[in-house]
Assembly symmetry: D2
Homo-oligomer: 307 residues x 4
């Protein structure tokens, strides 16, 4: 049962109807993005992202930069060169000139991380007004990870055997029971029924919610840099990666620059920079003579070692 349908259409029929009727517009259009509009890209077991609307394209970034820099931009010969220049030098405002609106269905514990990115617009399904659907995130076996023994924020080995079975059973049973009781409490069958805004407190953090999320491209790149990163929790990373696939088709030049300068790049500290210079000059540099702490040195080595 989909909270957004007002009538008898299935979600698939609604999407088909939305995609059946192109309208003429004088606005900039991004053909690569039109192909994604409204379609659900599955994420996790019951989640998805889908593009509801967008504004601008690669050319809109360039056009905005040319308002700023006027004739000064003549020397950058082409659009891609200008976009790369803007990203390299942290010029954020031209990227803010593109905007995207997504419909996202996601577990509450993912939503709680996501919402910390404040520079975005959000309309979330309200469990004060409406009743949540019975849908919970249960990790796939390959994502059922143990606590890392070396890193407080990380995951270690994948659980297997009886321990995995037990965890999955607990997650499923507790979710089912919590939702049964949620329905019981709401029920007006021979009783008043608890207020929705109270009953929801019984639901666990793996229940799915959904929202519209609207963000500009600069802030989206910031979100993606943090959340598509290997250190992000797997579950939000799955969403970030699905969004990356869409952005790549929307603004291919900007996305390529983002991959080169942000996703694939590295920030070196003054100390790290100094070590690299010494290494390039042939010096043997070790943690002991690097000026870095053990943790920093380990991360520094991670940047330059083959992955």
């Amino acid at each position: 049962m989909n909270a957004m349908s007002d009538d008898a259409k299935t979600p698939e029929e609604e999407i088909a109807a939305l995609r059946a009727d192109p309208q003429p517009t004088l606005r900039a259009t991004a053909p690569g993005m039109e192909q994604h509009l409204y379609l659900e890209k599955p994420v996790l077991d019951h989640g998805h992202i889908r593009v509801i609307d967008y504004m601008g394209d690669d050319a809109a970034i360039v056009q905005a930069a040319r308002v700023s820099y006027g004739k000064g931009t003549k020397s950058v010969q082409n659009d891609e060169g200008l976009i790369r220049y803007l990203m390299r030098h942290w010029h954020s405002t031209p990227f803010e000139m593109c905007e995207v609106k997504l419909h996202v269905k996601l577990p509450v514990f993912v939503a709680r991380q996501w919402i910390r990115h404040r520079t975005a617009n959000v309309n979330e399904y309200s469990a004060r007004y409406s009743i949540l659907d019975r849908e919970f995130y249960i990790p796939a076996p390959e994502h059922l990870a143990a606590q890392s023994s070396v890193n407080n924020q990380g995951r270690g080995e994948v659980l297997t055997g009886e321990e995995a079975d037990r965890v999955l059973r607990l997650l499923r049973d507790d979710a089912t029971r919590a939702y049964d009781h949620y329905e019981d409490m709401l029920s007006t069958d021979g009783q008043q029924g608890l207020a929705r805004e109270l009953a929801r407190m019984n639901l666990p953090a793996n229940i799915y919610t959904q929202w519209y999320w609207k963000v500009d491209l600069h802030n989206l790149f910031h979100f993606l840099r943090l959340r598509a990163d290997a250190h992000a929790q797997y579950e939000i990373r799955a969403y970030a990666e699905a969004i990356c696939e869409v952005v790549k088709d929307w603004v291919p030049l900007a996305y390529r620059a983002f991959e080169d300068y942000r996703l694939g790049g590295a920030q070196l500290s003054a100390k790290a920079l100094d070590c690299v210079k010494r290494m390039l000059a042939g010096e043997e540099v070790t943690q002991e003579n690097s000026g870095m702490s053990k943790g920093e040195w380990r991360e520094f080595m991670g940047v330059f070692l083959p992955k």
Copy 2:
């Protein structure tokens, strides 16, 4: 067990230590606020707010306005008059010159409403890194409300008797069981232990979390106007009201203006304004001849009828 204590002190001892050692400062101080610093103000069954730090006072608002308006402010004879003028005319920037930092302990479902106020700084206790405490919000009997039958977002009568008992039993039992299983899943006793960032998904929305929340006075007033309002959910309103008590002592002049112009005031539409004028001119105005919908008329009547 308090997540913030680094050593063997109890929270009470820590607070006493923090309050025992005043330091000289050249900054503006608000004596009314000093008395609140660090002390826990209980909210709900296990929650609290407490003031960790503040910047500015009523005089700081006036001082900032005088930078803006220079000699132009001479005509407003006193500080209170100027503060009232600023609030009446929606001058927000002088109020932004005051800032407060609170430590808040609150149920997750309240935190999810609260965080929608984006213009604030937040550090939340992270259940990716650390283990949450076994503390859940269970409504007091007088707050166990039924769903409103006339308002999708509201509460109706208080539940009583067997229905109330059953709801409280379900909330308590499910919370207890969910937490037991959370601990089980984390346990490394003869097994690996599920990653904390995953195990937390089993916990219901009435578990308590905590955060530092830092906000300027303008945005705090906006929060309080919406959340201390009678239409706000009771649980977040309880926090808003506790904060009001503190703000009243911190910036008494600004708070009084806020009460008059925001909390106690009303926004009239052009139509409503027109109706009031007609009524003042002696005309009989009814919903039918008001130009308002039934809902608007009901709200309009609510503003002018005795409470």
Copy 3:
């Protein structure tokens, strides 16, 4: 010479080219807005606004609200009713789901007021990189106002005769001379030429600049409420009013609600509300027994007296 043209086309030819080639899109389109796209709406003597892009329409507001409120919105029978409800109850997030991008040409002193609205994206023509055009705002005779004798922030009578002539002559002569010297300082004719980023400091605040300004509908309404208000400086109000004309065609339902609840409405304080109640009960209320200051009473009377 327009800073945005890359080639030999005139601005009119560029606009005609942009309007000549509609593309199919699956996105929501607002026919009322399509007719405005790219066209310059003149403001002041050399300024303009023009719509570069937009996202969403009235239906997008409703759609976002329905994500939030799900089945809870069934009771509001139609789109306009829901939009009015949202605005009446300060639900800002659905309005944030619409976005507009404008190209604005405006005097620097207007730009300095405008930029104080922080929740927007801006790309301004950079006088560090490029040379500003020789265009200055010179008030039309009917806007050449004296300082108000009762209000530090306001305008009084229109200047006439010799005083008006003298002021216009000074403004014109100083602007011309400042620009001549700007060009002289930049000139490399037999010399090095001062850096652009320095030479611009000689230019007065009535020189025109231009920018791309992108904002969501909620924040645009906030801007318009303050800047289309009778107390706003005439020069920025002229821009706000031109934008109002465009918004009216873009989101007619939302704009009508905005007119009723914001532009045409009034905020009453608790004291003012009390006075109205007393007046409706037949009591004679005067400033002396109102509890209001003289300034507040004057403003209160202004709300209820015929304009």
Copy 4:
């Protein structure tokens, strides 16, 4: 004549009075910052920064992080290690827990760059309400730079001789004349006097304005990284550098981490990282085989060459 003085005290006397009367507070105090409070640090020819208020210190950053990470932070042995870890991993929220309020006097063209940093609170002296003072920025001879011949946004050689003299004469004469005419237009001597909000349009961008600027430490570091950078315009850099001196005394541990990771560090793209790896492996890497454009390669070389 200082716009902020309400009475007969000189600015020096006001500052002395503010510094004469320390009050006890239970809040965190930063002794290094107390010594700066209220004192004017001169910048450019007539400008200054001065600290009006602050909230928090290095310990407040650590304390906020410990709310977030709870027992998870035990492994980072000390405050400095934790602060460095937070900055290295782009954890911004703990740094947002510190706040500073500055009074800044600055030329309008610098203010226009500065205000583009939106995440801050600002109260600017209003030339709608009040009359600006006769103070203009005239560059010192050593900062009177020619336009760079290789860089549209940069400065080249310092102007000397007759060209320098002529530029300084033009700047001084135009500023003097514009201000004379500003006063003339405002004058009510035998006439009405032009409205202040109009007369100000005659003033050039090197006139001084002033504001209160309040910002959190995270956003301040962002400002400083961009504006204390060698590519920033000298005039705003002078302010950024003066602020750096104050921040260094306020939060010495955080400032040191900022210097290492931001000011002195470098961002390498994926391509640049690959080149460094190849160079470390002994390969001869040139622009031609680097995959970088000429501009990128020049910047890349700049990072690793001795300055």
